[in-house]
């Protein structure tokens, strides 16, 4: 599949901050943005892997960030502004997934995931929007939701609830920030073959007796290619989507379109 770039796709002169971008979807988005000319800030829990990823992208910087901490997220955005002058694009992507049935899930497991997936998204949106607003930047904020936000998935009660909340948060932020010219949208990916999925796949099979690969083949036509997600992220980051705000953009090979 050829990914074709158009003139209007250019993100030259734009500064983008992506959380959870040392690997997986976050890195794919950062790589795409850099290819379109953006100055990218790679951010992850681990400073070394963030730096290594940034080293591969022209003009990129890195900054370790724990999205559970407001101070850490604020510092990430401050780094972007002081190092690169401004923030135009913010992608709240950092997230984890673990598995447990509702009846067995310790409160600690629920809370830990919520603190990263939901609190982290809230803090990223909050501080990204504050920086854009202070500078009068008509920026674009993108949250990474999930198709699990739209329905129930066994063993993922916490993950799905966190993503449903992120999608809803995105809408409120969009409405509040529209007068400032700041757009906020969510991308809802289906299942990609990233570490987040592959690390859990066997356990999913063992606990449910379901062949996850087979389900994916039937419902999505295969695993999601993360480059496709990067394309949507590029579309939402730039001027082509100037009238799009507060909406969910599903990338799932038709999974949620079908009743069966």
């Amino acid at each position: 599949m050829t990914n074709i770039t158009t003139q209007d796709d250019s993100l030259a002169g734009k500064v983008a901050v992506i959380t959870g971008s040392a690997r997986g979807i976050g890195l794919a988005i950062a790589t795409k943005y850099a290819a379109l000319g953006a100055t990218v800030v790679i951010s992850d829990l681990d400073a070394d892997s963030s730096a290594a990823a940034a080293g591969q992208l022209s003009g990129a910087s890195s900054f370790a960030c724990d999205v559970r901490s407001e101070d850490s997220v604020a510092a990430l955005i401050d780094h972007a502004v002081s190092m690169h002058g401004k923030v135009d694009i913010v992608v709240a992507n950092a997230g984890i997934a673990t598995l447990a049935p509702v009846t067995e899930m310790p409160l600690g497991q629920w809370r830990n995931l919520m603190s990263i997936n939901l609190d982290g998204a809230f803090l990223t949106v909050k501080h990204g929007a504050r920086a854009m607003s202070a500078a009068g930047t008509k920026g674009s904020i993108i949250t990474i939701g999930s198709i699990t936000a739209t329905a129930g998935t066994p063993l993922l009660a916490h993950y799905s609830a966190s993503k449903a909340a992120v999608v809803n948060l995105t809408k409120t932020a969009a409405i509040e920030l529209r007068p400032k010219g700041i757009r906020v949208n969510s991308i809802l990916p289906g299942f990609a073959e990233t570490v987040l999925v592959t690390a859990n796949r066997q356990q999913f099979v063992d606990m449910l007796g379901v062949d996850f690969d087979e389900v994916m083949a039937m419902r999505q036509g295969g695993y999601l290619n993360i480059d496709d997600l990067a394309e949507v992220a590029a579309f939402l980051a730039g001027d082509r989507s100037a009238f799009c705000t507060g909406s969910e953009y599903v990338v799932d090979g038709g999974l949620t379109a079908s009743l069966m």
């Binding site: 158009t6 809408k171 579309f235 009238f243 953009y249």
Partner: protein, 253 residues
């Protein structure tokens, strides 16, 4: 722009408004377009002005014969078909109690069955091409209703469900099917809605637009999202609907 280089497309309702903007954007991306409209003169004039191998065709989407002929003509002219944009549609802004049978039936015939007719006719050529794409025009009225919109929203909701089922059926054939759902747009169709809406709303149309969307959608805004879903940059996206509504549906109040 070359995101649609050498793609061969049909756009229905392309003589004006959003359809024309879509045709222009596809051409700017490198595609050849068959502009189809019940106003054949308008379609031909627009095609002539666009150049680049575009053609204009007269077609009433209520007629299976005319739809099939249009697809055959376009496919033969271009040597194949990669894209179909089902944009032809009408609106009828009347209260439920004043709609006639003919009103309701004709809006379904054009907006829904027209989309179905063109899809059915185009599938063989689209399947032969591989990596092809159908984009149907939904609306914010696909996802919710409103006063005076009963027949229109019924039709646009139907377009959405049709899009989803067609997407599942056609995925194996390499044809993606998606919908774009615009909000209130700066087009003749939306302008006709202003007076009837004002008659039933406590605020002016301008105020409604300002509060709900910030501004009217430009036809170009809609065309960009159509172009994205038409291009191979969206190759994993199917059965989805992408809103272009300035936040209208994102707000509860």
């Amino acid at each position: 722009m070359n995101d649609l280089q050498d793609r061969r497309a049909i756009v229905t309702g392309a003589a004006q408004g959003i359809g024309l903007a879509i045709a222009k954007r596809l051409v700017a991306g490198g595609a050849r377009v068959a502009l189809v409209d019940i106003n054949g003169g308008g379609a031909e004039a627009a095609a002539a002005e666009l150049g680049g191998g575009c053609i204009g065709l007269t077609c009433d989407v209520r007629s299976t014969e005319q739809v099939n002929a249009s697809v055959a003509t376009a496919t033969e002219a271009f040597g194949g078909l990669d894209l179909l944009v089902n944009n032809a549609g009408i609106e009828i802004a009347k209260p439920v109690t004043e709609l006639t049978d003919d009103d309701f039936i004709s809006i379904l015939d054009i907006n829904v069955v027209g989309t179905f007719r063109f899809t059915r006719a185009a599938v063989p050529a689209l399947a032969a091409a591989g990596g092809s794409s159908i984009v149907n025009l939904g609306s914010i009225a696909s996802v919710a209703g409103g006063p005076l919109l009963s027949s229109y929203s019924a039709s646009k909701g139907a377009v959405l469900r049709f899009t989803e089922s067609a997407a599942i059926e056609l995925r194996g054939a390499g044809i993606r099917v998606n919908a774009v759902c615009p909000g209130l747009a700066d087009t003749p169709m939306a302008a006709r809605l202003a007076a009837p809406l004002e008659a039933v709303a406590p605020i002016t149309f301008e105020e409604l637009v300002a509060v709900k969307q910030g501004r009217l959608a430009a036809p170009e805004d809609v065309a960009e999202t159509v172009a994205f879903l038409a291009s191979q940059n969206s190759s994993f996206i199917t059965g989805s609907h992408y809103l272009v509504d300035g936040g209208l549906t994102a707000s509860l109040i």
